[in-house]
């Protein structure tokens, strides 16, 4: 079977774009990806797109051109981008299509999300009494993890420091100001043990990728990146997930663990082969836990990894080189694709000031989100 290549990369800067709708930000990202691939929308045989609050992704055809292509909307929570990529991967891998577009965009209101219990199969009491907050879940998960695996508050601070430092050298990031250790440590507490600078915020932005059969990639670019695996998995009974009024007695591995294992198996490589990674960091604890859940270290080893700078751009395994969700914010529909966009630049050697040294050849992306869904992609040149 043919391999699948990513041949075009486009982004509309993350953050706030008051004069643009979410859809317009998606269209700008799509046009940028098409230009990067040296092609145009008329050449696209299919598109997969998704957005939470930015409108129907397939409305993009009004802005990009009514060419009659197959355009399928994908909505899968925080794994929307990963799911779109998975669908594009299958469409090309199966031989159905040669060339297509994946696009995600969003435009969220300021402040935290306010999900409604009924949309999650819960009754109103759960939200009315103040339990329906993702921030509480993330705080409680890392609180228990710190207790079980000896992770210190210092390590939480180090992850935030790294994120804003990397954001400060990423032109398309929202937060472009590095923060000192003191600034992070003394920020207002949101949900113990996590404070204001330890959480990402809902934001705006767009991201798009052009994909094709690998044997046609050189028609579009001299630097194709192969999509070696694109996997999405949901939760098992017992995994500790958001919006759960109760949890099973025995804690089961998270969907990240199962998605990661499957992705490595498909790609025929292991965690030790990965040279640069994007791991979902909706808050600092998530990045720490995801280092182990994706197989890059053992539980508890993150303490030493962060202390020794092993996840810095110059480190053994650079993680979230563009500042991740912490520095970019999270436009849900676009966020997972931003991770892939960044890894592709790292593998092309075009990541500018944040370029990982020694020409990395294998990269990894991971999203995780409500209500217990995870998407992993493995990329290689």
């Amino acid at each position: 079977m043919t391999d699948v290549a990513i041949v075009g990369l486009g982004i509309h800067p993350f953050g706030r774009s008051p004069s643009l709708t979410g859809l317009e930000q998606g269209a700008l990202a799509a046009r940028a990806a098409l230009v990067d691939a040296g092609t145009d929308f008329k050449a696209m045989q299919f598109a997969f797109g998704g957005s939470q609050d930015g409108g129907n992704a397939d409305s993009l055809v009004n802005l990009l051109g009514l060419t009659g292509l197959q355009f399928t909307n994908i909505w899968n929570g925080c794994a929307t981008g990963g799911s779109s990529l998975n669908a594009a991967y299958s469409a090309i891998k199966s031989g159905q299509y040669d060339t297509g577009l994946v696009v995600g965009f969003d435009k969220h209101a300021r402040g935290a999300f306010n999900p409604q219990p009924r949309d999650w199969g819960l009754d109103d009491w759960y939200g009315e009494t103040g339990l329906m907050l993702t921030t509480q879940y993330f705080a409680m998960k890392i609180q228990r993890y710190m207790h079980d695996h000896g992770i210190s508050r210092d390590t939480l601070i180090r992850v935030a420091e790294k994120a804003f430092r990397n954001g400060s050298i990423t032109p398309t990031a929202w937060r472009q100001t590095a923060l000192s250790r003191d600034e992070i440590e003394q920020a207002p507490m949101v949900s113990e043990p996590l404070n204001k600078y330890m959480f990402c915020s809902p934001a705006e932005g767009g991201c798009a990728l052009v994909l094709c059969r690998a044997d046609k990639a050189h028609q579009f670019t001299s630097k194709p990146v192969l999509l070696k695996s694109a996997v999405v998995r949901s939760r098992h009974y017992g995994s500790f997930e958001v919006f759960s009024p109760s949890q099973a007695p025995t804690v089961a591995p998270s969907p990240t663990v199962t998605a990661s294992r499957a992705a490595f198996e498909f790609a025929g490589i292991g965690p030790e082969d990965v040279q640069v990674a994007q791991l979902q960091d909706t808050e600092v604890g998530a990045e720490i836990m995801h280092m182990a859940e994706n197989g890059f270290c053992r539980h508890g080893e993150q303490e030493r990894w962060l202390r020794e700078g092993m996840t810095e751009i110059q480190g053994k395994l650079p993680v979230n080189t563009d500042g991740g969700c912490l520095a970019n914010g999270e436009p849900v529909g676009a966020s997972g694709l931003r991770q892939v966009f960044e890894i592709c630049h790292q593998l092309r050697g075009t990541a500018g000031a944040r370029q990982v040294p020694n020409a990395p050849k294998v990269g990894y992306t991971h999203v995780y989100g409500a209500p217990g869904i995870s998407g992993v992609n493995i990329l290689a040149t």
Binding site: N114, P117, E128, G130, L131, L133, S191, T250
Partner: protein, 143 residues
């Protein structure tokens, strides 16, 4: 005194001198759920029964809600009267961990492993002036 009613029927026994949480137990695999459900999330069975889950447990993890949540939060409080509240998972004797508000709301008063007891507390009044009640846990008083 205003009459007191559960905000959501079926979560706990009420009114009662000695209220306890109510959940379901799967008659096929024995797994518990809270709130109760007609099917089992562990084995897909449709044979479940309502059971008492007790009124005491141990704190499995916790956090503190520092700011007043947006809608759908709906209590007596206003932005001016809001007080931070604890949130945690309490591990019950059957092993199930139930998410709950906690009476304690400072890091000094909360720790994983603490013994916790159930209490029933007012949330707000409805349009008929009835006081609506929910459950929360608090640190057990040492004997």
């Amino acid at each position: 005194m205003a009459s007191q009613h559960p905000l959501q029927p079926g979560l706990f026994s009420w009114p009662s001198e000695d209220p306890e949480l109510l959940g379901s137990r799967c008659m096929d695999c024995g797994e518990h759920a809270f709130p109760s459900q007609d099917s089992c999330r562990a084995c897909s069975s449709e044979q479940t029964e309502i059971v008492g889950l007790g009124r005491s447990g141990r704190l499995w993890t916790w956090t503190i809600q520092s700011f007043m949540p947006k809608s759908p939060y709906l209590t007596y409080e206003t932005a001016e009267t809001f007080h931070p509240y604890g949130v945690g998972y309490v591990e019950l004797p059957c092993g199930l961990k139930v998410e709950s508000r906690l009476r304690e709301n400072s890091p000094e008063t909360l720790a994983i492993g603490l013994d916790m007891d159930l209490e029933i507390v007012p949330v707000r009044s409805d349009d008929d002036g009835r006081q609506l009640m929910t459950f929360q846990f608090h640190a057990a008083v040492s004997p």
